[in-house]
Symmetry: D2
Subunit: 145 residues, 4 copies
C-alpha cells in the first residue's frame, strides 16, 4: 500500500519508556501492550482524576488516551529522533465509559513524510466489548535535519 509503514523502529517497551521519560512521569501512567506494523494497543491506567460526575470516564481522559495511543503509534514507526506534534484530532463519543483503564487500539492510515494519519478505538477495561469513542488524528512530522 502506498504510504504504508514498512518497518518498526522501536519495541513496545521502548515506546513506553520513551513516553514516561518524555513526561518525566514518576509512576507508570501508560502501558504500551503491543506494537505491530501499522498497529498499537495501549492502556491508560485508571486514576480517580479520570472520572467526571456520574462516575464515567471524562472527555479529557479519553482525549489523553487517544493522543497517547497515536503518539505511541508514530513513535514506534518513526523512531525517537522526531517529535511528532498533534495537528488535528476528531473524536466521536459513542457510549458512557465505566471506570477502568482506557484501552486504545490505534491503526496507521497513512505514514507520509510530513504527516501521519491514524485512527484509534477506545474501550474501558470495565466493559471491554463496548466501543466508547472513535478518534482520528493527524500528526505533523518535523523534517529531518
Amino acid at each position: 500500500m502506498t504510504n504504508s509503514p514498512t518497518d518498526l523502529k522501536l519495541t513496545a517497551q521502548q515506546v513506553e519508556d520513551l513516553i514516561h521519560l518524555g513526561f518525566a512521569a514518576k509512576k507508570k501512567i501508560l502501558a504500551v501492550e503491543e506494537v505491530g506494523l501499522g498497529f498499537v494497543r495501549t492502556r491508560l491506567l485508571y486514576r480517580e482524576s479520570m472520572l467526571r460526575p456520574g462516575k464515567v470516564l471524562s472527555g479529557p481522559a479519553m482525549f489523553t488516551a487517544a493522543d497517547l495511543a497515536m503518539y505511541a503509534l508514530v513513535l514506534s514507526h518513526v523512531g525517537p529522533e522526531l517529535m511528532a506534534v498533534t495537528s488535528n484530532l476528531n473524536m466521536n463519543f459513542l457510549a458512557k465509559a465505566k471506570p477502568g483503564d482506557i484501552i486504545g487500539q490505534g491503526r496507521m492510515l497513512k505514514l507520509g513524510r510530513r504527516l501521519a494519519v491514524m485512527e484509534t478505538s477506545l474501550y474501558s477495561s470495565a466493559e471491554p466489548e463496548t466501543l466508547v469513542a472513535h478518534v482520528t488524528g493527524s500528526y505533523a512530522l518535523p523534517m529531518k535535519a
Copy 2:
C-alpha cells in the same frame, strides 16, 4: 456491544434500488455489493465528471462515495421508513486516487436511537490496495411517528 446493530432490515439489492429510486436515477450510479451486520461495501461507478485536473478522482466524488456508503449502511440497518440526514462528515485525504470506481467499505460504530456514527474507507478500483481516504460521519435519525 451496546449500541450495536442486531439485525438487518434490507438486502443489498433493496438498498441499491431504494437509493436509485430516491435519486430518480435514470442509470445505475452505485452498486451495493454487500451488506452485513454493521458493515457495507459499495461501489460508486466511474464517470468522467468524477475526475479533476491531474487525472485523479475529485474531492466531491470522494464525498459522494463516502456519503452514499454511509447512507446505504444506515438504510440497511434502519429500514426505508426513516430518512437519515448527514449531520457531520470528517474526511482525511490520504493518497491520490487513480481513475476508477470508488469502493467504500463502511462500518457502523454506533447505531443509537437518534444518531448513527460510521466510518468508511475509500479505495479506487484502479489501485484497490491503496487507502485513498478515510471518513467518519454522523447521521441524524428522525423520530418514528
Copy 3:
C-alpha cells in the same frame, strides 16, 4: 436565522456556579466571563498540571477548555434542566500555547431541538493575540420529559 438561539436562560454567574456544582469543585476552576446571544467567553484557570514537557499547555488542557466553553454555551441557552452530552469534537491545534489561563470564545452555530453545534477559539492569557486552537463540537440534547 433558522435554528438560532433567541434568548438566554442563565447569566454568566449562574452558568459558572452550575458548572462548579456539577463538578463538585472545591475551588474555582473556570470563570464564565460573558454570555450573550449565541456567544460565551470562558477562562480555564491555570494550574501547573495543565503543562506538558516543553512548558506548553497540554492537549488535554485544551480539550477541557474547549469542552467547558461549549458546555457553558449550551447551558446558558438551554437552561439547567437538560444535560447536554458531547457527541463530536474536532480540534485543530494551531500554535504552541504558553502557560496561562486558557480563554475560550464560543459561538453557537446551530441550536436545534436535539443537537447544538458550536465552535470555540482558544487563546492563552500569556499571549492573547495568538489563536492556539480552533474547535468545533456537537452536543446531544436529551428530550424534555
Copy 4:
C-alpha cells in the same frame, strides 16, 4: 498573530481566473467576490445538478463550495506557484439549503509553512441569513523548490 498571513499575493479576479484555468472550465462556475487579509468570499454558481431529491442543495455541492472557497483563500495568500492539496475537511451540516448560489465566507486560522488551516461558513443565496454548513479544512502546502 503568529502564523497569520501578512500580505496578499493575488487579487480576487486573479484567483478566479486561475481556478477556471485549472479546471479548464468552459463556463464560469465560481465567482471570487472578495479577498482580504485572512479572508475570502466566494460564490459557487447554481446549476440544477447541485440539487438532490427534496429540492435542497446536495452534500457534494456543499463540499465543492467549501473546498473551492478554501482553495481560493490559500491561492490568494500563497500565490500560484504552489499547489495546495486538501488534507482534512470537517463539515457540519446545519440546515437545509434552498436552491441558489452557495456563498462561502472563508477565514484563515493558520498559515504555516507546510499547512494552512481554514474555516468556511456556507449560505444559500436564496436565504442568505441562514448558516447552512460550517466547514474546517487543512491544506498541505508543498515545499518550494
